[in-house]
């Protein structure tokens, strides 16, 4: 789990947030944290790839992920953002 932990950003459609999206993601083994404007989705790389049906290996973020059919009404975009690094 720790080797491939991934953070994704979910953007809502104009209708705003929908609790059923969070429920669906969590049912699929992902964790969520509500943001002021959107939702932070976290999980292992393998879980993310399985749930969203993509391969993220060797791809350079930012990456737009396909939106699952079940979420399409409520979700405008799901993005793997650029990585953050230490400033030492």
């Amino acid at each position: 789990m720790t080797d491939d932990y991934v953070e994704l950003f979910l953007k809502w459609t104009a209708d705003g947030e929908a609790p059923q999206v969070q429920t669906w993601l969590e049912k699929n083994g992902l964790s969520t944290m509500r943001m002021k404007h959107g939702l932070l989705i976290t999980g292992s790389l393998q879980q993310i790839e399985t749930v969203f049906g993509v391969s993220l290996k060797n791809k350079q973020p930012p990456i737009e992920l396909p939106i699952p059919q079940e979420l399409a009404v409520h979700v405008a975009a799901i993005t793997l953002p650029r990585p953050r690094s230490y400033h030492d």
Binding site: T2, Y5, P62, P81, R84, Y86
Partner: protein, 499 residues
Amino acid sequence: MNRLGLPLETISDDPVPEQVVGYVSVQGTQSVFGGKVKRLRKTVKAYHAQKSIRDSVRRDLEKSGFSILAESALGLSISAPGGAYEEITGGKLKTRELFLNIDADYSMYVTHVDIVGDKQSKTLGVGKVKSPNLKIDGVLIERPRFFHPVFPSPIPPTSPKFHLRVPGEVAVVLNAVAAHQAGNRGDGVIVAMPDSGQFRHPFFTANGFNLKPTISVVQGANPSKDPVGHGTGESANIFAAAPGAVLQAIRASNNQGKLVGAIAGFLLAKDLNPKARIITNSWGGDGPFPPFGSPDEFELAWAAEILDAIEQGILVVFSAGNSQFSIEPQVPGVLAAGGVFLDPTGNLRASDYTSGYASPWFDDVNVPTGSGLVGMRPRAQYIMLPVQPDCEIDRDESEPDPPFDPSSDGTLSNDGWALFSGTSAAAPQLAGVAALVLGAKPQLSPVQVIEALTKTAVDVTAGSCHPRFNNPATVGSDLATGAGLVDASAAVQFALDNF
């Protein structure tokens, strides 16, 4: 009673474990049990049991429900439910709590299992068998044992490279000592720091600094480890400025130390109970400068999250970057930490290691807002900081980096100390100074704290920031050091006099 006034032993509410691991000493010609003289013989051959007797004991124990884990010439290592021990001894198994020193300067009550009863030994965890036909001269229940990790020295090593030490020298250069002497130490001000982790380095214990147990974002990542050393080392800068502050470290790295959970770490820091007054962040992203357009939706949503923390009254500090261009330090209301270098002759100049620019995304925002102490290129090896021994930074900084730097930091690769800095050091220094201000005037808003820091900073007029931006330090506020090097005592006095 121990030095904390706690009893050395108390009764225990813990149940006896389902499986109890123990040891039986099989009878030899001599025994360590029961004799009046508690001393080992020079050779243990007299304690050896005959193989035939050991085999017989093994069979008897297995019949009584014991598993045999290992065997030696003296006895057998065994495991069984507590009832099996009670059956062969006729005693009762009971738990007791003993106060033990677990690690350097860390003690706690540890549950032990004892065999008690009229005919049982008074020694903790030692029992006698009830049947003389069982050729066992003692039953022992294993006492808890602890790993003995090698702890580094709490005192920084010397290095031939010019550098500053924490907490004392950094406190002096930030002019924090007068504030400390006046009783302003940032007592109880909670500073949250999402970073690579927090190793329990003796430096923090020896100095009496207050650290809450680390929270880990990534499931399975050990909260007491820091494989990079970044969070542990940079956090020492907070205490140099504010020795009374309370650090809530949040480990946002995975087992390799990669910063994979930074945003989740920030969200956790916002949501602490009791609330953090300050969140200090020594990390960020990077992108083209000048940027191709406006920030994307992710960046904006992330910026909104930072702004929300500020609107909740939390002072948010972000490092300006070491040549990076990123949205975090540009968010309006963030205290963006740049760098000033104090050279061996006592002169101040802008660090050429740090980012400095006018925000192309937000009106009237310059990065940095103000500065802490940061070294110069190529490596900014400037402040001797405590790290987890043999972590990535401990190893890397102790090696030369040809062709840029033919010398190392002068420390060992596994001594738990390394010379480094960057705006990663400046951010927690500014957070520490802000904690001093909030300790003196707890009701201040983030805007007021930033005003106290910037209005009293020492103007720096020499040098330039990183060549990527190449902005010079000038008289007054500039894009190299912002308002200049923060002056801790002056900032506290400003807050006391003006708010």
